[in-house]
């Protein structure tokens, strides 16, 4: 199997960068949605829940195409991000991160939602009676008790991002050094004769990364159970 070449390292590093940025970018939205779905009571909650889960079931190529419409140079979201933040997505690694974020979002929302639902609201009431306002209660009780689940969601989302293929290749194409993450590089190598050892090495890296992420996520999710713990509860 041997050492990874400079080119292969570049692919791994790009994948890690895309995965980390995707998770960081998706986290505020994922947390907000998870909190809303866990605690909110409003009309249309079922619909919101369904929309959040869409990327899990829609063909990724359709998600990629929708991203192209929305975030392409002529898309409304694309124009907004270019004028307000100076960020473009087309044929750039940022676009790969965006596609990965969209695909990771449902998994992150699920994990975070479960951890928020596991927080005992009676503990929040207790904090209120001890003089903590709603925000302080959130920061000192809700958030720390949900934290293991939030981290589990982040790790799960990261694993999903690293594996993203369909939406990415549709949205930002397959450009070495820019948008060519691990799965895309493996796909390219499979099209060419003599790429077997290249494919094998990248495949092993992919499996190892995913495995580590899943183990970490599972370990964190188990710890999240302590939100229900405490005494005689």
């Amino acid at each position: 199997m041997g050492q990874l070449s400079a080119e292969e390292w570049g692919i791994v590093v790009l994948s890690l960068k895309v995965g980390i940025v995707a998770v960081l970018a998706a986290m505020p939205l994922a947390f907000g949605l998870a909190y809303l779905l866990a605690r909110g009571r409003f009309p249309g909650k079922v619909l919101l829940d369904a929309v959040v889960h869409l990327p899990l079931v829609v063909p990724p190529v359709v998600t990629g195409w929708l991203l192209l419409l929305a975030f392409g140079p002529n898309g409304p979201a694309g124009r907004f991000f270019e004028t307000v933040f100076g960020i473009t997505f087309m044929f750039r690694w940022t676009g790969a991160a965006l596609a990965a974020a969209v695909m990771a979002l449902p998994l992150m929302v699920r994990a975070i939602r479960l951890s928020i639902e596991a927080v005992d609201q009676r503990l929040e009431q207790t904090a209120r009676t001890l003089g903590a306002g709603p925000w302080r209660t959130f920061a000192t009780i809700t958030l720390p008790l949900a934290l293991p689940g939030i981290l589990a969601g982040a790790v799960l989302g990261f694993a999903r991002s690293i594996g993203e293929f369909g939406a990415t290749i549709t949205f930002v194409s397959n450009i070495p050094g820019e948008t060519q993450t691990l799965p895309l590089a493996i796909y390219s190598a499979l099209q060419m004769p003599g790429g077997d050892s290249f494919v094998l090495r990248l495949a092993v890296v992919s499996v190892l990364l995913s495995l580590m992420a899943l183990v970490a996520s599972e370990a964190l999710a188990r710890r999240a159970g302590y939100g229900k713990g405490g005494h005689v509860l």
Binding site: L130, G131, I141
Partner: protein
């Protein structure tokens, strides 16, 4: 100071009315299970909004439906001791004890951590996590946490019911000391005649109208 309650509230479809004045000492809210005793405590703490009425602690109006006053729990300065204890599972005993103390304005604190731990005999537990405590130890810490938050009145919801017999006697002694030494109005929910007989200065029956 006295604590005055005159409220009407609904628990499910059952109307509950409570009208009493609690001076310093223990006012037992006594009645069968499901009569709404806990609801009255929750209303006193601001965790449940009565349909109408008035709750006053000394010269502070906590709730007045006619005047549109409804202070949130964090501004009422109540010390609430729960039936199910409710220590924060992610914080050590010391941080549980100091949670409300740190949030209380300095002029409202009337007890230090040392005084509270001496009073309750929990000084050896300060570095433990709540899940490692016995039921009696946990209830002492919960009582300390409530006292340290500088309350103007105490609410105790069957604080003995989750404990075995020897612990009950122990905590009852602590509650007697709180009653005799601290001079606070205490609303004490129970359905146990023995507790009423031993602890209560006055009894308010709930759910026997």
């Amino acid at each position: 100071m006295s604590f005055d309650v005159d409220i009407a509230l609904k628990r499910g479809d059952t109307p509950i009315a409570a009208r009493f004045s609690a001076p310093a000492g223990i006012t037992a809210l006594f009645g069968p299970s499901g009569a709404g005793k806990t609801s009255v405590l929750q209303a006193a703490a601001g965790l449940l909004k009565p349909e109408r009425g008035r709750i006053v602690a000394g010269d502070v109006v906590l709730f007045d439906s006619a005047a549109g006053i409804d202070l949130p729990p964090e501004r009422r300065a109540c010390g609430y001791v729960f039936q199910d204890i409710r220590l924060f599972p992610h914080r050590r005993v010391r941080d549980n004890l100091l949670y409300g103390w740190r949030l209380a304005p300095e002029d409202r604190r009337w007890m230090t951590l040392e005084e509270a731990t001496d009073f309750l005999g929990v000084d050896h537990l300060l570095h433990r996590m709540p899940r490692t405590l016995s039921g009696g130890e946990a209830q002492r810490v919960a009582i300390g946490r409530a006292l340290l938050s500088g309350p103007r009145y105490l609410l105790m919801d069957e604080p003995l019911s989750s404990l075995d017999a020897p612990r009950r006697g122990e905590i009852m002694t602590v509650i007697e000391r709180i009653r005799d030494e601290l001079g606070l109005p205490i609303l004490y929910v129970t359905h146990d005649r023995e507790e009423v007989r031993r602890l209560a200065d006055q009894v308010v029956e709930i759910g026997t109208r």
